[in-house]
Symmetry: D2
Subunit: 437 residues, 4 copies
Amino acid sequence: MNHDFTIPSLGDAKIESPIPYSQVRGDDLANYVNDNEMVIFDVNVHDAPVTRDYPREALIECAGPRQRIFFPPGHVHAGIVTCGGLCPGLNDVVRSITRCLWYRYGLRRITGIRFGYPGLLPESAQPTVELTPDFVDDIHKIGGTVLGSSRGGGNRTEDLVDAVERLNINMLFTIGGDGTQKGSLAIAKEIDKRGHKIAVVGIPKTIDNDFSFIERSFGFETAVGEATKVVSAAHAEANSAPNGIGLVKVMGRDSGFIAAHTALASHDVNFVLIPEVPFALEGDNGLLAHLKARLDRRQHAVILVAEGAGQDLLPENDATDASGNKRLGDIGTFLKQEINRHFGEIGMPVTLKYIDPSYTIRSAVAAPTDAVYCSRLGNNAVHAAMAGKTQMIIGMIHDTFVHIPMEIAVSKRRTVEPEGNLWRDVLEATHQPVQMV
Amino acid sequence: MNHDFTIPSLGDAKIESPIPYSQVRGDDLANYVNDNEMVIFDVNVHDAPVTRDYPREALIECAGPRQRIFFPPGHVHAGIVTCGGLCPGLNDVVRSITRCLWYRYGLRRITGIRFGYPGLLPESAQPTVELTPDFVDDIHKIGGTVLGSSRGGGNRTEDLVDAVERLNINMLFTIGGDGTQKGSLAIAKEIDKRGHKIAVVGIPKTIDNDFSFIERSFGFETAVGEATKVVSAAHAEANSAPNGIGLVKVMGRDSGFIAAHTALASHDVNFVLIPEVPFALEGDNGLLAHLKARLDRRQHAVILVAEGAGQDLLPENDATDASGNKRLGDIGTFLKQEINRHFGEIGMPVTLKYIDPSYTIRSAVAAPTDAVYCSRLGNNAVHAAMAGKTQMIIGMIHDTFVHIPMEIAVSKRRTVEPEGNLWRDVLEATHQPVQMV
Amino acid sequence: MNHDFTIPSLGDAKIESPIPYSQVRGDDLANYVNDNEMVIFDVNVHDAPVTRDYPREALIECAGPRQRIFFPPGHVHAGIVTCGGLCPGLNDVVRSITRCLWYRYGLRRITGIRFGYPGLLPESAQPTVELTPDFVDDIHKIGGTVLGSSRGGGNRTEDLVDAVERLNINMLFTIGGDGTQKGSLAIAKEIDKRGHKIAVVGIPKTIDNDFSFIERSFGFETAVGEATKVVSAAHAEANSAPNGIGLVKVMGRDSGFIAAHTALASHDVNFVLIPEVPFALEGDNGLLAHLKARLDRRQHAVILVAEGAGQDLLPENDATDASGNKRLGDIGTFLKQEINRHFGEIGMPVTLKYIDPSYTIRSAVAAPTDAVYCSRLGNNAVHAAMAGKTQMIIGMIHDTFVHIPMEIAVSKRRTVEPEGNLWRDVLEATHQPVQMV
Amino acid sequence: MNHDFTIPSLGDAKIESPIPYSQVRGDDLANYVNDNEMVIFDVNVHDAPVTRDYPREALIECAGPRQRIFFPPGHVHAGIVTCGGLCPGLNDVVRSITRCLWYRYGLRRITGIRFGYPGLLPESAQPTVELTPDFVDDIHKIGGTVLGSSRGGGNRTEDLVDAVERLNINMLFTIGGDGTQKGSLAIAKEIDKRGHKIAVVGIPKTIDNDFSFIERSFGFETAVGEATKVVSAAHAEANSAPNGIGLVKVMGRDSGFIAAHTALASHDVNFVLIPEVPFALEGDNGLLAHLKARLDRRQHAVILVAEGAGQDLLPENDATDASGNKRLGDIGTFLKQEINRHFGEIGMPVTLKYIDPSYTIRSAVAAPTDAVYCSRLGNNAVHAAMAGKTQMIIGMIHDTFVHIPMEIAVSKRRTVEPEGNLWRDVLEATHQPVQMV
């Protein structure tokens, strides 16, 4: 894994920051951050004692306010866009970026793009929104995104850059997932090709928590909290009916983090099914057999399934959504049917209640943990852009906010490691078999 | 900082674990953890490129189930004790330890000590509690600790070891703070001196989040969530009165983490006062002057003060509590009086509402984020004890559960770094002056 | 409306109550209630001045502890059964009945029937549950019903009475809806025919709040609270997408109370559709036209539909469920399809998110308002049964707990009056047209 | 109790309402309300059969929109003022009044007075606020009052009327308690004396729920919900310490409704102390003796005390607050001291935690139940004022919104009846002695 973590820059940062921090360590005053403050990515050691070399490009740059910035604050016009599916905390991030730009750097031109990348396209009739502290002050109290969002449009690079130029934006914040950041990278490269000095900084958004090089994505803890409440409901349903089965589907296209954490938080789940761990339905070691054993033993059961789990069990389909993601088969409905069919066939009446709470989870207001995180993500994104950094996203590694090149960030997804300690703790909480194949 | 992270052991672990995990990487089955899986503690680099040597004792051992364990499960009698002040998640940890012992290792003798260390002392009339899955199954739905807790008693090492021997316990889990873990270490050393094979494993409890070598302590996120609600109330009060001032005191004897995170989560705080950052009341750059300026500008203000802040402003006192902690002066009441006095003197009527929510915060039910964490802490504590580890606590470093020698863990406290990025983000959220002295 | 509100009785109440209340008014001690304490049902007057005659049978008997009771507490064996769909507060009622029987009247034989009426039938293999304060103490903290519930079985009167006799129960509490109470009435009449002295007292359960003669049913306020959260989510979804439409289906087979109250609580609903008020889809004054006008004006809309609304728009079906209720067509899915079809046809892209939160609503833990109410319902049910009252349910009229004959209670449903003040307030909150036909 | 419920009027209502309701019953369209729709107040009967005469003035007028109104909407300037202590739902009421005036009657001049009656006084420098739908749309999501509030000023009748005239207001909505409504009545009478046509309509605000002739006051259910959470905390504290005592003080100057309902909702309270039921501390039947018995039996106890309880036990004081209310002695702190003293004296160590959550309760956001109620109160207040009604408040009796003359409403307080069913149900829930004197 030899990544180059060097962050692209628009040029030398020569302007004195308007924020009055200290340049010296030891005076007990808050400090600027230097470009040579970095963190080690890989902390695991299996072969002590050991010696490791850390060349500069293998280290990850710390985020934070720089003493010298690239853009003269009076001449900056910042744009913010939110893309893709909803995620708790979107408004918190928009709020934090706006307030940091306004209060710390003195910007007065901050423009919100409506409804994602498509809002920038020539055929869009959407007017933009002028963002001010007044506008954003209370938006963290409502779910969704005040800017609006939608999928797609991110591949129309030239049109998007045209629009950015037309709006005279020289600092673009893109809040979105994998697809959005791929689009951002293409935009930033096209900008570079055209010779413009426009910073493009991404704030990674993935409710699934599956961005590489990022310990935790905003909205994830809120999602787990909301999913936990739903599992309680499913448990109450299951527990109140003879052979009651509660089946809950949660987000998780490629990664089962929400399902895994929810199972650990709720204490009520008996089977967790995630994309990373294949399972069979039929057979002595299949889900249906284990489910029957559980019902025989305790008369009720709760199953938590990530939307991307068990796709191999479903009929083939080749559909994609507007963001270009493969459209998943509906594993929840499939399991519901198969479980009902199976217990019908063996003459064992069950009462299955299926809950798909996706919309109520993703549109929730950010829980305090996420509110803190979003607030800090936004600040650090602003500091990076003002310093002339570009083609990068803000991440958190080892509890430290860092800059990560978009190129690397979009290269692969983070998944639940079936041999790792998170999944093992799930097995210990659910007592489900290590394998169901 | 040359610490020796080597974990003391009761002896060779020769017994095959009853938990059926895999020993090979790559078979997609959950694995045992080996003693040579370790993490690097210090990830910060300021001087790239650099080469670093990692001797074994400088690395921190990963937690998790070992393939070979020290204790024959059929002969283990485990004891659990909760000590000191309440903290969200205590019952989650007791539940998790009990269930892991019972279901994963097959233990049938698990004893809960009532009301902390004093419950072990000869003069105590408290009967112990037999812990079973039935007993613990729903305890995470209530706050406090079902075992009861109290302060003190931890320095009566010999009596405590006598009691442990009398109860025939060979595995003791101590859930408690700094003082508790100092007591645990003394107990473990006395046990060792007497030549007994009794594992003593601590689960660090500090609602203040101020344990060294531990990124995050259980209950902390819940506390921040609860404190955030209280700040909302204080803000509503302040905002509804002419020159309204909301003053909230939160926990934080030596470290202002709760105050700092709450300010970031709530978006409503104008002044955060923490033990690590001194402030003056009087003078052009003192709190009162800045508070007046804020009221002149906006007519209301919210102040969030950690209990340990501004102790230098208070009259001397030498009292200590039963845990041996210095009894703090009451900064909340002091500020209330001083602010009312000051504005009375300058003839500017203010309406100050003071809220001290400590008891409702510390007795809250664990939020999902903490529930997940407690569940995993408990599991990992059990795995460590079964493997014969002792004189250690379970911690989390770089998102990895680890073993930390008690000796090191109790050596100093973690504090908010006034020059670090957390405090800087607080300044950016509150717009309070970098210094008020 | 000439109802006879006389409550059937098992015989003279000659036994001194073990509860030490006072018999005199004015001594400031809590009193017994006399059978001649009654309330007027109809409080509306349109033609003042007026004189009204109140014969005894037109007045409704107040609930509460009687000084003399029918059953000798030492010889009572009480049974409790929960029937039909889940409803917040079921466990609170079971808890309250059990505790009042145990602590106030000293009963020691209280039996919980598992899974509704079917649990009493000869073919059932379900063992009963012994109810004690220990068993019920914390059950109000979980949703669903600890006794389990299921539909149907209520028409097997003879089998049910056989079972009651076999269990030697002389006091049966039936917690359930309209169908359940019809079953209870038949059971009580059959008991009477057989000459047994068994009290049958119902606690009316209808999350729809549609029991006649009952101002408010338990669980209703909780349901409204939960539905309000879901509407917030739907609003966030709608507001975050171009031409976003949030569509939420809530309970309400024959009565739109949940939908009406939720619209008033949430402030975010633009169209409320209930069974009592017909609406057209098509035409200038149909829902689709008004929805389009709303989208043109504001670009987003929220629709809240009760499950029984618009059934005339759906294809015919004759199915019934196990409780004998007509199976409703799925108006939510139908509306989703029709709206998408319509806007597709007129070439106006919309983003519709449909949420059906039924299971999470009905399995919620009772909100405090309902907890108070359930606690009092249970107490009053016990007092009635101990006094030898039978064939009656506990209700609340004009803020007073009362006894209502089952015969009357099941005779018709309560509905939202389209010309009444509740619906008018909904129209004022949503600004939807008075008529959409 | 021969009250005259006739509502004063500014004159004939001759103007056609702009709201298009129906005038006929039976057409299934929402109707106007006529002045001759009334409700019977007293529904209790002890002496059936009985005949009752209802003269018009003994009946209570129903609230709702009239077909003919007094004020030409285009010429109305409405003012809204919030007075006294905070209460959940204040913003909901302001919102509802504003929206109903704006959208239903087409008003465009709605003025918010800042910080209560004092904001109207000549010495006030407070500018008023222009209220529009945009301004009020999201205010129900925050606690407190956006208008600000304060005590006092209500007795400066002439100055207040001068101010109302100066502002050219012809419709004044006063949201406040007993004292506020006495002030409103004086204002309305002075206005009448001066011969002006200005409607004064009150919305009764009392978190204590102690307004006469009003079944339920807004904010009360929210307060109970919040208090219930605090009692859970107190219970967790009590239950976690040896001889732990949780002591919670809640609002309730003259009436113990919050305490009574909270005890019923929480299931965790052992002693409820309210102003209406005297109790002794000392003696065999005093609180301390019963508390000791409880501790001996169960080792923990929870006490819930209303702020006005036990005032006879406290040292005399004659202070009053700015609203003219007698300043209560602090029963909470007194009990804390007395309990600690007593158990100290008898050598029985206890751990008492005292919580006074007043500010967090009264500044809470309205729960859904209250949100519905506030929304309807506001609408009905507007309809009354537009119809030229004055010197009245909006109330709810027998689940019907009604008009009540201020003269009657402020004549006495509603209290918990020690011999009534609410207090009896509290005794059954807590098992506390019927008397402790």
